[in-house]
Symmetry: C2
Subunit: 120 residues, 2 copies
Amino acid sequence: MNKKAELTFDHVALRVRDIEKSVEWYQEKLNAKVGYQDETWAMLLIGGTKIALVIEGQHPSHIAFKVSKPDALPCRVEDASEHRDGTQFFCAGDPDGNTIEWVYYPPELEREISNDPIDW
Amino acid sequence: MNKKAELTFDHVALRVRDIEKSVEWYQEKLNAKVGYQDETWAMLLIGGTKIALVIEGQHPSHIAFKVSKPDALPCRVEDASEHRDGTQFFCAGDPDGNTIEWVYYPPELEREISNDPIDW
C-alpha cells in the first residue's frame, strides 16, 4: 500500500443471525453501547472500539482499517464501493480468505461522525 | 460483567494456514510490524492495533478484550486458562458462535509488555 498514507484500525464486523438478540448479548456481556441499530446491522462501541454486527446478505465478517487518503485504497478509484453512509471502501481476502476492508471517510463525513450526538 | 472493571479492546486473532506466508501478506498489504512470530502464531501491529495470526489447533479466530481486574473475567477463577505468556483468559461464544476472549494481564506482565524493546 501507499506508505505515505496513514492507516488506522477502524472496526471489526461479525456475522450474526438476529441483530436485536445479539445487541442484547453484547450489552449484557461486554457493556456495549449502541451507535446505530436496524434489522440488518448495528454498530456497537465496546471497550473503546467499534464492533459492527451484520446479518447474512450484507458484508461478511471482516476487519477494517481506515486510510487517510482515497488513493491509499488498494484498488483503482472506480473499483471502490460506497457504504450506505457515504464512506468508500474496498475489500480483499488474505491468503486464507479472511476479509480485510480498507475504508476512506471523506472529510465532510469525518466531521459529521466526530460531531455525532450519540454519547459513545 | 462487573461494571466497575475497565474493559478495553485488546486484539483480533485470525486463523491462517501458513504463518510465514500470512505475515508477508500483512506486511506488504497493511504495513504490519511483527511483534512475535513462530511457526504456530504471530502477533502483528497494524494501524495501531494488535492482530494475531494463529494456525489450526491453536485458538479459533476471535476478538479479545482486556479486563482491568481478574474478577472481571466472566467465569470462576478456576475456569480461566493461562496463555503461554502468562496472561489469564476466558473464551465464550456469542449467540452465533463468534468467539470472544476476555484477557487479564497480571501487573508484572503489563509492565514487561510496556517495556518491550520491540519498536511497535
